[in-house]
Amino acid sequence: MPQRLLILVLLEVLLGWGAGVSAQAQGNGPGVRGARAAALGNASVALDGDAWAVANNPAGLGSLARPTVGFYAQNRYFSAALNVGAAVVALPLGAAPGPEAAADEPGAAPVGAPATPRAWARRGVVALEAQRFGGQLYNETRVGAGYGYRLGQISVGGRVELLQISIEGLGSRRVALASLGGQVEVLPGKLTLGVYGYNLGQARLASYQDERVPTVLKAGLAYRPTAQVLLALETEKDVERPANFKAGVEYRPVGALAARVGVASLSEEISAGLGVRLRDFGLDYAAAFQAALGFSQHLSVTKTWGKGNGKELKIKN
């Protein structure tokens, strides 16, 4: 059934039919950002310290230590009409407090925290993102701004975006959306819980059939049994579609290299990927396979600069 739905959606999009009920199922959801998330089956709601958190869960921005730019490209089923491209700039505001200051802050170093104190931007992290999906017949363009703030075990984040949907021959529609997210370190350094609500205001695209941008709630856990292994679990619910359950595993034998696999129940997609990190550069690649529709590929690069905490990088992605 899900395959059939996808094919149907694909056809609709390719043929440029009206933005009917099924078309919204393909596009205008929160989507995938970054090849790391894609490799983990997009179980990304509890991940942090990554610029792509701007769309996966802006609360995760709060732990970003250094200014970052990133580019992301996605190709689905070798069709140019389904390409996604995105770019992000994330800027921590206010210098990260030194290790001593971080330890003084109430709740900053909870009992049982790892010995190395982690630091995060004092005034939060702001990020700007632009993304485009589709080809000439049907495309979605969005410009978003996200903000994440972290205090101790808690991070909160929000995002506003402007979404434009264009269908050739039918014109275009523009709506503004607001989303909110949060993350909590249940066990410091080991277990993080993330929740993200996308389009909480249920923005309306068209009065015909009361078409709205989907409202999606995601909740998930990220578990780090050891410093090398990350286990991510997530459930995602679009109000109008069945629930999706996603899981991913990341293994980082050395700081510079990561291997990942993931699955997602609703799209019946499996994925795998590799990540390489060389000081300031990050390069991630993921391939996903859907039994009926074939391969998708994801590639992202990030570049960070400025002073960072070297140890921080090892623990984080």
């Binding site: 949060g182 929740v195 709630l217 109008e240 069945p242 629930a243």
Partner: protein, 693 residues
């Protein structure tokens, strides 16, 4: 006044944290699966019980059991400790009692206090004690659905007659007052007008503007008179087989302590549920050091629809086909049924408790007389139901503590000769293992009209079953609980056209990394046959294997004294029979509560739900104004959100404001019948003002 402050300061040697009732209720009612359970009633009974802190120096074994938070072994060690070392000096002493770990102490602290002996004389005569009681409140509650429902629109004509409409406005209003002190007194009254009920002044029929009126005065520990109750009250004796009063939490995430009922005796009734209390008088008298006797009498008019018999050979000229428990009197029909059936109840209880309280035995008797005979509709499933005007029930209950075992049970006989029985065993098999076994048998012709002993059904009739419960703490922060309950219904039931059998099983894993954090996951499966829909191929309704499976993932943490978060994922599926397709329901909800200083607390939720049909509707517990509970049934596709503000306007005055909204996708109407709303959303506002004297 200064004397008073001194006195209360002395009694409270520990800064009591406000009880986190939300968390407790979430634990006790982890998963509500039915409309039948009067959650509101249970919640309020518990809340009232918790409102007046239990004095650990005066509490009896039954009082401690009613807390539902202590194991039998812990209760025994507390009582032994009190016996050996005299009265407790402070709650800090709890740490020195065997079996009291920090988690247990943390859980009970909000609900208990350590006070000296009877300080009543120092607080002056009764009227002064009532006037100066700290534990009092007067509250005014207002509620309304914002959208216009069909019942409130102008009537239209259908076949020349106006269609049915509600007679009153859509506002719901309640006014309540209560003051109580544990082991001393309780006084209070409640007035309520439900949405749709008209204002009316008919004092003879109990309509004093408001449609519902209730009041009580209960005095406790007056010499040998343990309790004297006037007005509205509830009774709970033994295992609740004959008399039960809302302490019946039933099966849930707590698998051990909720299995047995506590014999708390006469309880004041101050709730808003219009049909779950006695009205009249009751008294408990201490006959000797080990014996006590209770007598009670009640007379009230219950809602029922009365009919005349057409058949001249029938046993009764006039009869009622059943009592109506909703308490709603909104339409002409509902008003016509209001208070139509006179019900007179009388009875008593004789109880014996051994010197150390280990053995308790009691005899209870309940006689009921209806002014008009009851006669259920002539359906097969009603064949053995109660009919007639009189019912007499006699019961014997016992509980016996031996080492780490608690044996308890109750057996009763009702008019007609049916014997119903429930017997159980709670065992602390080790410091980290608790087990429970309960066996029950309620015949099809067993008529306990006010009972609510342990069972799968809400009423104790036509059911046999065996329950096993197990709770293990394998590591300090982990707890595994499980139960398996097997039941059979020897006669037909409503919507079940054959004798049937089923089971209910639960497995719960809870992890508490800190005192204020809990992560839990729970799986439940219930097989409870129900009739399949009839069709031309399948003309006779026969029960199918109606199977429900559910999953609950829950995270609750107080991240700081000011901030609390909760995440809840609830998913379930069911099928009508083995070969039928599954239907599924899903809810994901996120709650945040933040306290801005002492003056303001905000709570909010955003949830997404999707349930294929009414059968897989999802009940999700929500925070509500103080003393209220909200458990909406969600089905269809949509979002549910609410915001609740608790505002302290001054020391005596607190205001609650609540707004809740359910938005449905692809629906043009919400609700059915007179409750129908044109449009895709339903929103409710609620306001409550509390004044503490």
């Amino acid at each position: 006044m200064s004397f008073l402050i001194f006195n209360s300061a002395k009694a409270q040697d520990y800064p009591r944290r406000p009880p986190d009732l939300d968390r407790l209720t979430q634990e006790l009612f982890a998963e509500i699966q039915s409309d039948q359970v009067p959650v509101e009633d249970i919640y309020e009974t518990l809340l009232n019980y918790y409102q007046a802190p239990l004095n650990l120096n005066a509490a009896t074994r039954e009082d401690l059991r009613a807390l539902l938070l202590l194991s039998e072994t812990q209760i025994t060690s507390l009582l032994r400790h009190r016996e050996a070392n005299g009265l407790l000096l402070s709650v800090y002493e709890l740490q020195s009692i065997e079996g009291f770990d920090l988690r247990t102490i943390g859980r009970i602290l909000p609900f208990v206090a350590v006070a000296g002996g009877d300080g009543r004389a120092a607080r002056g005569p009764l009227w002064q004690r009532i006037l100066h009681e700290d534990n009092n409140y007067a509250l005014l509650r207002y509620e309304r659905v914002l959208q216009t429902r069909q019942g409130y629109t102008a009537p239209t004509l259908y076949q020349g007659r106006p269609t049915l409409r509600y007679l009153g406005g859509p506002d719901k209003l309640a006014l309540r007052y209560r003051a109580s002190h544990s082991q001393d007194f309780s006084v209070g009254f409640s007035l309520e007008k439900d949405a749709g009920e008209p204002w009316a002044w008919q004092p003879g029929q109990g309509r004093v503007g408001f449609d519902y009126f209730s009041a009580h005065l209960v005095l406790q520990a007056r010499g040998r008179w343990k309790t004297i109750a006037l007005g509205d009250y509830q009774l709970q004796f033994g295992q609740g087989l004959l008399l039960s009063s809302g302490f019946a939490v039933g099966k849930g995430a707590e698998v051990i302590t909720t299995v047995r009922r506590s014999s708390v005796g006469v309880r004041p009734y101050a709730g808003l549920l219009e049909n779950s209390f006695f009205r009249g008088g009751a008294a408990t008298y201490q006959l000797g050091p080990r014996w006590e006797a209770t007598a009670f009498a009640s007379h009230r008019n219950a809602d029922a629809n009365l009919r005349q018999t057409q058949d001249s050979l029938a046993a009764y000229d006039e009869f009622s086909s059943g009592l109506i428990y909703t308490g709603l009197h909104r339409t002409a029909t509902e008003l016509a049924n209001r208070h139509r059936l006179a019900e007179t109840v009388g009875g008593g209880h004789l109880g014996y408790a051994s010197a150390n309280g280990d053995l308790a035995v009691g005899l209870s008797a309940v006689g009921t007389h209806y002014g008009t005979a009851l006669l259920k509709r002539p359906e097969s499933y009603n064949l053995f139901e109660f009919s007639g005007k009189n019912n007499l029930a006699l019961g014997l209950h016992y509980s016996y503590v031996w080492r780490n075992l608690l044996l308890f049970g109750e057996t009763a006989r009702t008019t007609g000769g049916a014997l119903g029985t429930v017997n159980g065993l709670l065992a602390s098999l080790g410091p980290a293992v608790d087990a429970a076994v309960l066996v029950r048998h309620y015949p099809a012709d067993f008529h306990s009209l006010y009972g609510n002993a342990f069972g799968e059904n809400y009423r104790n009739i036509n059911e046999s079953g065996v329950y096993f419960g197990l709770k293990i703490r394998p590591a300090p922060r982990w707890e595994v609980s499980a139960y398996y309950d097997q039941f059979s219904f020897p006669w037909l039931r409503y919507r079940v056209g054959a004798p049937s059998r089923g089971h209910d099983a639960l497995l719960r894993l809870a992890y508490t990394p800190s005192k204020t954090t809990i992560l839990s996951t729970q799986l439940r499966q219930r097989l409870k046959p129900r009739d399949l829909p009839t069709s031309p191929d399948f003309p006779v309704p026969l029960p199918g294997n109606y199977l429900q499976q559910s999953l609950l993932l829950y995270y609750d943490a107080a991240l700081s004294p000011a901030l609390e978060v909760r995440t809840r994922l609830q998913a379930s599926r069911l099928r009508l029979d083995d070969v039928q397709p599954w239907q599924a329901g899903y809810v994901l909800a996120q709650d945040v509560a933040y306290r801005f200083g002492r003056a303001l607390k905000l709570t909010a939720r955003y949830a997404v739900f999707d349930a294929d049909s009414y059968d897989v509707r999802q009940y999700v517990y929500e925070s509500d104004v103080w003393l209220a509970v909200s458990v909406p049934a969600l089905y269809g596709q949509g979002t549910r959100a609410y915001a609740l503000a608790e505002i302290r306007l001054g020391k005596p005055l607190t205001l609650w404001l609540r707004y809740a909204e359910t938005r449905y996708r692809h629906q043009t109407t919400v609700g059915t019948g007179l409750e129908t709303i044109q449009g895709p959303a339903r929103s409710e506002v609620k306001a409550q003002l509390r004044y503490k004297f």
